[in-house]
Amino acid sequence: MTLLTSNNLTLQYDGRPVVEHLSFAVEAGDCLCVVGENGSGKSTLLRCILGQKKPDGGSLTFGDGLTRSQIGYLPQQHPAQKDFPATVEEIVRTGLLGRRAFSPRYSKEEKAAAARAMQAMELAGLEKAPFPTLSGGQQQRVLLARALTAARRMLVLDEPAAGLDPVVTAELYRAIERQNRAGMTVLMVSHDIPSALSMASRILHLANGDYFFGRPAEYAASPLGRRFTGEAAI
């Protein structure tokens, strides 16, 4: 089943194209890794998927009854407030809000769903911990758990491992991979090419005006992939 189809999509800011004539598709159960240099339009593409930015050409459509409220999202920019009074549990539960219009209270089932997401992100025991007191890796897992709580069919993650050490990064990717194995469709921006190649079922590489979309093995052999992985190694 195709969940997402991009057909000849063009996205621009003030008349300047960032993404041009882009076509790709995301099937249910896929893990699509979006790679590319800084400024190549990865976050812009995600914003378009979330309906925050309208296509300036071509189209981007949902399939198989997918709706925006079934997507869990992890933004690239973080809420960077020191001293914000909020606990892990409070934050993760806000992932539930997209599901309904009106919400004076969370139901038992909803709280259980949030608890499962915290479990999956290995946050058990930290439910009542104040967010500002957590380490960067733990904070990232909290935001990921929020996305997971919201995600009923698809996770859209913008650089989930930004700023984390290699060990924590590997753990984070394993947690995402587990979700993917369990049937969650994942669309993830990453600068970590080796991990992307190992866990992705599809790679989308954005390069100003040009792009690659295909399987990881094809990507490693493509000119764009060879150049980028070569550059990444230097």
Binding site: G51, Q52, S69, P75, P79, Q81, P85, T94, L97, S103
Partner: protein, 276 residues
Amino acid sequence: MSVSQLFADPYLLRVVLRALAVGALVSLCAAMLGVTLVLRRFSMIGDGLSHVGFGAMALGTLLGLTGSYAMEFTLPAVALAAFLLLRLGDSGRLKGEAAVAVLSSAAMALGVLFYSLSGGMTADACNTLFGSASVLTLSNQDAWLSLGLSVAVLLLFACFYHRIFAVTFDPAYARATGLAGGAHQLLLALLTAVTVVVGMKMMGAVMISALILFPALIAMRLCASFRATVLAAAVAAEGCFLVGFALAVAAGLPTGPTVVTVELLVFLAASVKRRA
């Protein structure tokens, strides 16, 4: 007036109780909204809006719309200003604090001009700025309107509590996931505007901002979760208001400044406690 006089006169007692009820409810509204406003870096919005309220009140006086129509006239003006400020703050073309400062001083200047055009700064203007020196000036109609509006603010806040938290914590996420559309912003602007306009009656334009800021700042020094912060802000607001109000009535002091002074003292105590 002395306290024994107060209890001897049923009319006076009723007037004081009416002011007490309005003040307690407005303090509660201001405290609740204050938590989200302070955390979203809109601390000064209460100040800016109250100055807009002052300007609107002055214009109303110039046009001869004084007395009972004052609130109906200022409310839309303040609501519009609140919406524009919240909008500006998020779109980022004019930084939120700069926008508030500009609006605040411009509205103040216009307000003073309007008042002088309509015959100079009167006791009326003084009341608008510094609040009613005596609680007796609150009319029955104002009291009921204030009570109704405050209850509406509290109900809406309770209904949208989780959403307000989500938006306050992470506005970018809330926007991207459709939690914080224009409707949400309009709602927050309306709630803030109503609280400021109703609070101005009691506290005056100059001091309403204290009702919004102090309880939130006190609570944030003592609590680690959002829920606890909101509840603590509510308790702090009520406690400070009741103590301040009682002192003001007993000693014949103006209500607004007395309440703010009590809040200041509690805030200092909370800051010391956190250091310790």
